[in-house]
Structures are given as structure tokens and as C-alpha cells.
Symmetry: C2
Subunit: 121 residues, 2 copies
Amino acid sequence: MAKVRHSRFDCDPGCAVEATISLIDGKWKCVVLFHLLTGTMRFNEIRRQISGVTQRTLTNQLRELEEDGLIERKIYAQVPPKVEYTVTPLGRSLQPILVALKFWGDENIGRFGKPERANAA
Amino acid sequence: MAKVRHSRFDCDPGCAVEATISLIDGKWKCVVLFHLLTGTMRFNEIRRQISGVTQRTLTNQLRELEEDGLIERKIYAQVPPKVEYTVTPLGRSLQPILVALKFWGDENIGRFGKPERANAA
DNA sequence: CAGGATCCAACATGATACTG
DNA sequence: CAGTATCATGTTGGATCCTG
């Protein structure tokens, strides 16, 4: 539901949750974050790691992550452009949560659940 | 990105994260979950707690939460319909993560960040 | 290399009205 | 009471082509 992005979260207790989720929501953001947590990467480097993303979408996701202060974008003024992406301390502070989310998913969806409602899958 | 729901998560490490997020993604799901974590509630009871939701949307969110096994829907065969919603053990197992997400949001967005990109807000 | 521009389909949510 | 049905809208993300 990335459309909400940074809701006021001063309403119900779930709003802050929603606000946080909106930061890592987006079809590829968590994947990107996971990769960047292992180190700085260039655009096409990220792109190669994640198969299935289009340039446009990856660019958008990176832009949003940047605007949200989770990653940093460093541009080198060179003839063949070079742009590096790095997680910021703020982004890194999400690591435990990301890991927890991944762990929960592996445990509950992979093992005994596997809901498989899958409207899109 | 609720449209992805239960992606294969057998690809990149972020996929399980995405799959988990998809369960609590949806403009009101976390709010609903937070409320239900405090106890069983009826439909309109939930609706009254959360101002701003339409019947249709709340119904949808509840259905998805139910299909994902996070909440249980108990229907009483009565003349004035009565339906109760309760979190399942699986849903309750998400509590720590929800709390962590809320905590992070309160800390980072509320305190020194408050990105405020806000395209919708 | 790292995008920007444009077009488009799918979906999520809202508004409103109706019902067993 | 707890929905369902229908309509309308905005956003996301994909496809494709172009560029400094």
C-alpha cells in the first residue's frame, strides 16, 4: 500500500506500523535493501542481482528509498556515469526488522502455512 | 504492494520479507490487528474503532486476514447477524513484529526523521 | 552506464446504494 | 448487523524507446 506513505500515524496504534511498512513496501525494496546491506553497489550491479526488475521500476524504488533516507545515492561525475548506492545508518537500523520479517515468513509461510491464496501468483 | 501476496519467496532473500509484509499490508490491516490483539470484536465494533474505513474495504481487509490465517471469523446463526473476529495463534505470533515496526516508526519517523515525502498525506 | 519519458494494465481503496 | 454489488479513482509497476 505504498500509496499512503508516511501517514499521520497519530491516529490508531497501527498507523506507525503502516508508516514504517510503507518505507519498505514496494515490490523490490526489501530485496534491494537486503542486497545493499551487504555493501555498496552500483545501479546495474543491483539490477543484475535482482532479475525481473525493469530499469524504471528499480529507479523508482531506489528513489523512494533515498527520499526516505534509507539509502544514499552517490553520483560520480564521469563520462560513463557511475552511481553508487549505500544503506544509511537509518536504513541499517531496519536490518533486525527485515530479518525478523524474513524469519517469520520462512517459518510460517514456508513450513506449515503456505496460504497460497495467490491472486497474482 | 498487497497485490503480490505470497510471492514464491524462493528467489532473493527479500522475497520472504515481502511475503510477510504482504500479509499485514493493506491500508488497515495492521490497525485491525492491533485492535483485535486486545480481544475479540464484532464487525461494527471494529468499524467504530477505526474511523475512516468503509464497509467494503474493512470487509476486504478482514477477509484477507482470515484467508491468511491471521484472524478467525465466527458467524452466529442469528436473526440480527453476529460475526466475531479473533486473532489466531498465527496472527498473535506477529505481535512482536508489529510492535517492533510500530516502535521503529515512532522512533525514527516521529523523532528525527519525519520524511514527509507524503504524496498522499 | 544510469537513467528519463511515455503508455498501459492491474489492483487497492473509496463512495454509494441495496439486502437477508 | 454484516455484509454485497457496482462504479469511480489513484497508484503501482511493467514495457518500450530514447539520451547525456
